[in-house]
Symmetry: C2
């Protein structure tokens, strides 16, 4: 068994920051698997082109390349079935698909306009130019203008987490008594933000904050040990 994971980094090779790569990192840890990290930067398309991908994460399992965090989660579940389950059955896998989209749209999509301007400072110049140009084209305005007023606009983001917050009233994790892939989907977003932005996404008295603390401590503090700002 030889696993390798292409992970997005910037100037600091030891500071992976993609929300999607973090989903995979947590999933690997959940399965008790370790993967050698291959640092990858935005403009290194050539490095993953042979694996038919333009984005990370890309997981290499021996000769097999698996692309996209959701596909990787399913691959791990199917190919390492004797290890702890990521989905807790087929119902969890099916609902996990929607949790994944909720994580993409509401969590990652909601964080993006709050923290995006903090990203270029963590990138090498060539990547910073690529990032700024491509994202500003998508946003139709400068990154700095996008995050302006975030002390106020964060309130809408926090409110958008209500379905999760309400769930945590009666169970410690989205996965139930213990975390599963549903938790890693959301946590990946927070770990992305923590790596590249000092902005406080959550209030300290928020149940989601307490939940994040527990995931930072999971797997011997794997996520907390990774470089990041205080949250």
């Amino acid at each position: 068994m030889s696993l390798k994971l292409f992970e997005l980094v910037g100037t600091d090779e030891a500071r992976p920051f993609s929300p999607f790569c973090w989903r995979t990192r947590m999933a690997l840890a959940h399965k008790g698997l370790s993967a050698e990290s291959i640092p990858w930067r935005f403009t290194e398309k050539h490095a993953i082109a042979p694996h038919r991908s333009e984005k990370v994460p890309v997981l290499l399992d021996g000769e097999t390349a698996v692309v996209d965090s959701w596909t990787i989660a399913n691959y791990l579940e199917d190919n390492y079935p004797d290890r702890p389950s990521l989905f807790g059955g087929e119902g969890g896998r099916a609902m996990g698909r929607m949790m994944n989209w909720w994580g993409d749209v509401t969590v990652v999509g909601g964080m993006f306009p709050l923290i995006v301007a903090d990203i270029p400072g963590h990138l090498h110049p060539v990547d910073a130019v690529y990032f700024r140009t491509s994202r500003e084209a998508r946003l139709g305005k400068p990154l700095e203008e996008t995050v302006a007023g975030r002390e106020k606009s964060v309130e809408g983001f926090r409110r958008s987490l209500d379905p999760m917050r309400l769930t945590l009233r009666t169970q410690p994790y989205l996965g139930g008594d213990a975390p599963n892939y549903a938790d890693y989907i959301v946590f990946g977003g927070f770990q992305w933000a923590r790596a590249i932005s000092p902005f406080k996404l959550l209030a300290e008295n928020d149940p989601v904050y307490a939940w994040r603390e527990k995931l930072l401590d999971a797997f011997d503090g794997m996520a907390r040990k990774s470089p990041g700002y205080p949250v």
Copy 2:
């Protein structure tokens, strides 16, 4: 086995319209169970008080009263384990808790300001007064003012369904290849709207529209046979 279900109705006893009762109705059908319907109206608190509830659905299973649609779904899953599963395993049950809150907050909560003014017309005068008074106190404005401009504000509601819409790209139901309780959570909201409002919540070219059509046809068209407006 003798099941009875208190269901919210208005002037038409045969037109149950609570989103939460519809979740239970669909869950019962999924389990292959039938329940005698006990029509219940907003102001008939006395009828369910002995079952320690102020709201419906209330399910009576012999001597046992079960209150709240989520609790009922879990009760059915645990007490009728040999019937088709509502959650598809413990992971689905755990994630279902969040799907249920998403259904409450985003789906039912999103529909409410679009259709609420259409409800009193379906109620007996005493219930209509109760409904208008309690809801206008909550909203801080008249029902009619709440729904004003809904042709425009429906766009935000439609957009809020994106995580579901994107999920339906790769699987026919939130539950996977076949519907499960995750689908009934959302469908309950649509069946509520259909029963009491002529307002078009979905565009016909929306994948969510096609999904709703299939659920209207499920269980021999149980939901479609229930009185409602064209959708």
